[in-house]
Structure formats: structure tokens, C-alpha cells
Amino acid sequence: MNNDDKLILGGHEFESRFILGSGKYSLRLIEAAVQHAGAQIITLAVRRANTKEQESILDHIPQGVTLLPNTSGARTAQEAVRIARLARELGCGDFVKIEIMKDSKYLLPDNAETVKATEILAKEGFVVMPYMYPDLYTARDLVNAGAAAVMPLASPIGSNKGLATKDFIQILIDEIDLPIIVDAGIGRPSQACEAMEMGAAAVMANTALATAGDLPTMANAFRQAIEAGRSAYLAGLGRVITRGASASDPLTGFLRD
């Protein structure tokens, strides 16, 4: 892997392109997960961090790992802003992943509120990483609002269904000049690899690991898949023939001058 290939978020450089979730599994597995994933960024729900000393998730995060607190539980931009500020007060740093959901069933992000919260928090100096439904107009609005990256969902959160929104994520990768980090719904290492081959800057996963038989081993599998996908992207994928055969005589061979 090219050593100069860095993920840059709000001026911070990262070598790893695997963002690890910390929910849905035992706190004592976090350290092993980080290690096997080779992750340098780990998300955590502020609502889980806002707890008494007995089980604070913050105590389980290894030194040197960048925290990416999320605003889960927020239903409006205002609530997300309040949670982000609380995260900063709790000592979680300046990174924030905006999650605004007005639907308790599918937990789909509210793009309009997400843009509003991004604008406010970017102005306050946060490194804002908004979780969003992959929509080009929203992505452009997020760029203008000061986001450090755009985090489109691959499929409904927790579903492990993979790249259901693949074509729309590709549009964001092609059109948006910010890192596109594929978030939510990635269920297998092969899907993470595919997202990276497409040109995603990073992949975030949580449930796929939490529900795996052996979490650290799965974290390792994801790390390898993400690295492979990144290498493939940088190498430039070979031609893929999707329909019919390639004519050996060029169709334009008749042209003379």
C-alpha cells in the first residue's frame, strides 16, 4: 500500500480507512476489535457515554484512537447540536457524526435536519461527519454547510444488506469533493471491499461485527477487505465486460481519414 495514501478528515490524517462502531457489543471487546480492525477512529453514542463511572464506554476506548461521537437519539437539528456540544464537554474531542432520525422503526436519517445541524456545528469548529441518505443535492448542501466528509447509508442500519444504494453512492463519489464514507448496512467484508473499489474513502461498520460469531476475527476480515478494496481502487480496476463479448475487430475499423 502506498504510504502516502491517507484519509484526511478536517485536516487530520488517518492511515486506516475502517471506522469502527462501538454499539451493540460488550465494552470489553472494544479493545480487541480496535486492534484487529486496525481502526484509528471509533464511533460512540453520546447517550451511552453520558453515564456514570461504572460502565462508561469512554474507559474502554484505547489511547490514541480518535473518538467520533454520534448524536443518535436526536430527532431535530437543535437536538443534534445540543448532543454534539455535550460530547465536547464530555471530552470527546471535536469530531462529531451527525445522526438525526425521526423514525424509530428504520432509523433513516433526516437529510434536511442534517444539513441544518452541519451548518451550525461546522461554524462552531466541529469536524462534522453527517450520516445521510445518499442524495446528490443533500450532499452538495452538506459540502456548502462545511461538512468534513459525507456518510451515505448503504442500506438500512443494522440490516447487514450491503450496498442497496450502490448507484447513488457512486454518484456521490463521482461528484462530491469530500471523502465519501459508506455507513450503515454493510454486512460482509466483501461488501466493504466493493465500496472501497468504487472509490469510497472509508467504510464504517458495527452490526456486522457485533453479530458475528467471533468479533475480533471479523474485525480483522473487514480490515483486510477494506485494504484490498482500496488497493484495487488505486490500482485502477481492469475492464469488466458486463454484456455480450468484445468484438476483436473494432466497429470503427472502417474509418479511413
Binding site: G23, S26, R47, R48, T51, Q54, G73, A74, S104
Partner: protein, 417 residues
């Protein structure tokens, strides 16, 4: 064994006994349970009609093994699938249902199990609900904690490490008014991250007030969705008004509460129909208010003081497990609470399948946390309990036991915003 609910206390006056017997034996002496009392807000809502239509048309005998197998194969569980999973035809498929339920639980909640504890602050009650230990004719020690006592109880509970509390009262507006409950909520916010309420149903503006005082989750048990059966069990008092109770969750949502919880008390009526109606109540309200968090409880009838014969009839553990699995498969995103009415063995098993929340360090009595938690002799009077609990594990023991099952105990996952 049929339930015999009627117990006469030797302490009742002749007049009181006469009234009690008349309420029990003469339906014409009882108020119309479908008619609102003065001061009760009438909500214009179509939810009740929808739920009742589903419940009334539910003929669980018509479902076959084929329907159950098809339901288990479908990726999304439809209402028809849910009806099949609740039917007697699904009983032989309990293990497959549990496997599926476990998968859904892990997708939405991972391996987390939330822990909370209830705090009863008063047991006065103005209602005659024949199965309940707090009913106004039952001879028990009545008590209402004052603010100092409430705070003392909260300190004892908070010192044990608990971060989520559910405040309960008997259903007496006269003894435990909304302001009194509001003050308890304000105190609770000092000691706990999450404050829930399980009190008598109130109007939207009162829910709004309680929300401002710090409560953010409202639990109301409908007891039974069969209004005719409800009438035979809730003979006297404001609780008798069935439709006002039905709309409580919707008023709580309109009052700004983050979440609402639902339940039928299994064993009071046809449990399959009650389980269906409870889930449909959640389903339709979720469609109307998609931002709200919803959860389900699954209590079975328990013995009470002065009547140890009360039991959940045909709702055995297998049936309860079937209901919980069906709930999970149909409503994968909702929280499911299993109370200390159930045994430690059952609760240890069900958290591995579908339940996401359990209570620990439980007392359903009044003002007795210190004596129960420390074993210290009580130096103040204590109020009697609403029902007998089965699982008396402390928070510490529960925490260790959950970890021992390979699950992750969670004391708080909540922010008041």
C-alpha cells in the same frame, strides 16, 4: 384453576361491604365503562377503531402449520404472519420462532440488555380492580412518601448504581396528584439519567407538565383490550373508563414524551387476542408517530396480598415465550421488557432471545428500599406491595448474571434533549 378474585376484608364497614358486593354482583350498579368522566380529555383518533377491528376479526383457530412456516420464511412479518405466529398452530414451532426472534433482536439491539428499577411512591388507590393488590377494598398498609422520603429512596437506589428509574403510584388523583408526581420527577432527574412514569392516565397538558418536570417515558397497561372483560374486572373508579385509558399513550406523545410503553396483563382475558391488540396498538401508533420510541411489556397475573390464588391461567411459560417471540418478529425495533414477576430462570433465558430490558433490585412496596437493599431493620412504616415478585435479584447480581450469559448489561443509553 379459575381465578376467584373477590376477597372480603374483615376491616370493611357493613356499608362498604354492601357496596362492594353490589359492584361485584350487579352490573347495573356499575358506571358505563365506555363513558368519559368529567375532566377527561377526549382525543379524536382512529387508532382504537383500527386496533379493535384487528382484534375482533382475529380467529386464531384458522391458522395452520403452513401459515406459520410461511410467516417464518418471510423477510418482513406482515400482520397476517403475526397472527399466525400468535396462534396455537405456532406452538410446535417455538424453537424456530426463538431462533428468528434472536436474529432480529441482535440486528436491532446487538447483545445489550437494559436494566432499570421501579420506585413506588404511593399505593393509595381509588379503584376497585379485582386482581390488584392496591385495590381500594384490599386491606393493606397504605402509604404515600413525602418529598424527603422519596429523595431518600432515590439516593439508596442511585447508590446501588442504577441510572434508570420508573416512578409508580397507585391510581389516586386525590392522594397522588400530578403536581406531587411532578415533584418526584424533578427529584429523580437529580439522581437518574432516565425517568419513566407508570401512573394513572392523565390529559395531554398534564403529560406535558410531567415531561417538563423530567419524565420522558410513559407506561400505561391497558390490562385487557377486551372492553367487556375489562368492565367485569374494573368495577369502580376512574380506571373503569376503558377508552380514556386506551388513548393514554397518544396523549403522552402529544404531551412531548420521547417514548411510550404498552401492555396487556396476560391471564385476564383471551391472551392471544390481548397480545394481538397490544402489538397492533404499537403498530398503528408507530405509523402515526414514527419518531416515538415504543416498548412492550409482557406481565402475567401474579398473586397479591390477601389473595394468593390469583394466577395467569393458561398463559404458561411456553405461551409467554411464544408471545414475546411473535412480538419481536413482528416489531423488531421495539423494546421488550420482562418484569420481576417472572423467575430468574425465565428472565435469563428470554433476554437471550428477545427481551431487551429487565428490572433489578425490585420492590413493589412503598418506602422499603433501604431495608430491602441493606437488610437493615426498617425504622419507618412501609407500604404493602402491589403484587408478589419472583425474581428478587439485586442490581449487582443481575449485572453479573447478564454478563455471565454473554450479554452486555446497559444502565443508560439515554439523553434528555
Amino acid at each position: 384453576m379459575d381465578n376467584s378474585f373477590f376477597v372480603d376484608s374483615a376491616h370493611l364497614s357493613k356499608e362498604a361491604l354492601e357496596k362492594k358486593h353490589r359492584l361485584e354482583n350487579d352490573p347495573s350498579f356499575r358506571k358505563n365503562h365506555m363513558e368519559y368522566l368529567e375532566g377527561m380529555e377526549v382525543l379524536k383518533s382512529d387508532i382504537c377503531e383500527k386496533v379493535m377491528a384487528q382484534m375482533k376479526s382475529y380467529d386464531y383457530a384458522k391458522y395452520t402449520a403452513k401459515d406459520v412456516k410461511a410467516a417464518l420464511e418471510h423477510e418482513t412479518c406482515t400482520i397476517e404472519d403475526f397472527k399466525a405466529l400468535l396462534s396455537p398452530a405456532a406452538e410446535p414451532f417455538l424453537e424456530q420462532m426463538a431462533q428468528r426472534a434472536r436474529l432480529e433482536t441482535s440486528k436491532h439491539f446487538g447483545n445489550t440488555v437494559y436494566i432499570f428499577t421501579p420506585l413506588y411512591i404511593a399505593n393509595y388507590c381509588e379503584n376497585y380492580c379485582v386482581y390488584c393488590g392496591f385495590n381500594c377494598y384490599n386491606d393493606i398498609n397504605r402509604m404515600k412518601l413525602n418529598e424527603q422520603q422519596i429523595e431518600h429512596e432515590m439516593k439508596v437506589i442511585a447508590d446501588s448504581g442504577m441510572e434508570e428509574i420508573l416512578i409508580l403510584t397507585g391510581e389516586s388523583r386525590a392522594k397522588s396528584d400530578v403536581k406531587y408526581i411532578g415533584e418526584a420527577c424533578k427529584l429523580a432527574r437529580k439522581y437518574f439519567r432516565m425517568v419513566g412514569l407508570e401512573i394513572y392516565p392523565v390529559n395531554t397538558d398534564e403529560y406535558k407538565y410531567l415531561h417538563e418536570c423530567g419524565a420522558d417515558y410513559v407506561t400505561v397497561f391497558q390490562e385487557t383490550y377486551d372492553s367487556d372483560r375489562y368492565e367485569q374486572l374494573h368495577l369502580f373508579g376512574h380506571k373503569r373508563v376503558w377508552p380514556y385509558r386506551f388513548d393514554a399513550q397518544e396523549r403522552a406523545i402529544l404531551g412531548g414524551m420521547r417514548g411510550v410503553a404498552f401492555s396487556a396483563l396476560l391471564g385476564l382475558a383471551d391472551f392471544r387476542k390481548d397480545a394481538l391488540a397490544t402489538a397492533m396498538h404499537v403498530y398503528y401508533l408507530q405509523r402515526k408517530y414514527p419518531h416515538v420510541e415504543m416498548s412492550l411489556s409482557c406481565p402475567r397475573l401474579r398473586p397479591i396480598k390477601n389473595n394468593d390464588t390469583i394466577n395467569p391461567l393458561e398463559v404458561h411459560e411456553k405461551q409467554l415465550c411464544q408471545i414475546i417471540c411473535a412480538y419481536r418478529i413482528f416489531l423488531p425495533y421495539v423494546g421488550i421488557t420482562v418484569s420481576s414477576r417472572e423467575s430468574a430462570r425465565f428472565r435469563n433465558g428470554i433476554v437471550k432471545i428477545a427481551a431487551t430490558k429487565i428490572s433489578a433490585g425490585v420492590s413493589t412496596g412503598i418506602g422499603d428500599h433501604e431495608s430491602k437493599y441493606t437488610g437493615k431493620e426498617a425504622d419507618a412504616p412501609e407500604g404493602d406491595e402491589q403484587f408478589e415478585i419472583d425474581d428478587g435479584r439485586s442490581l449487582g447480581t443481575m449485572y453479573k448474571d447478564i454478563e455471565g450469559e454473554g450479554l452486555q448489561p446497559v444502565l443508560n443509553d439515554y439523553l434528555y434533549v
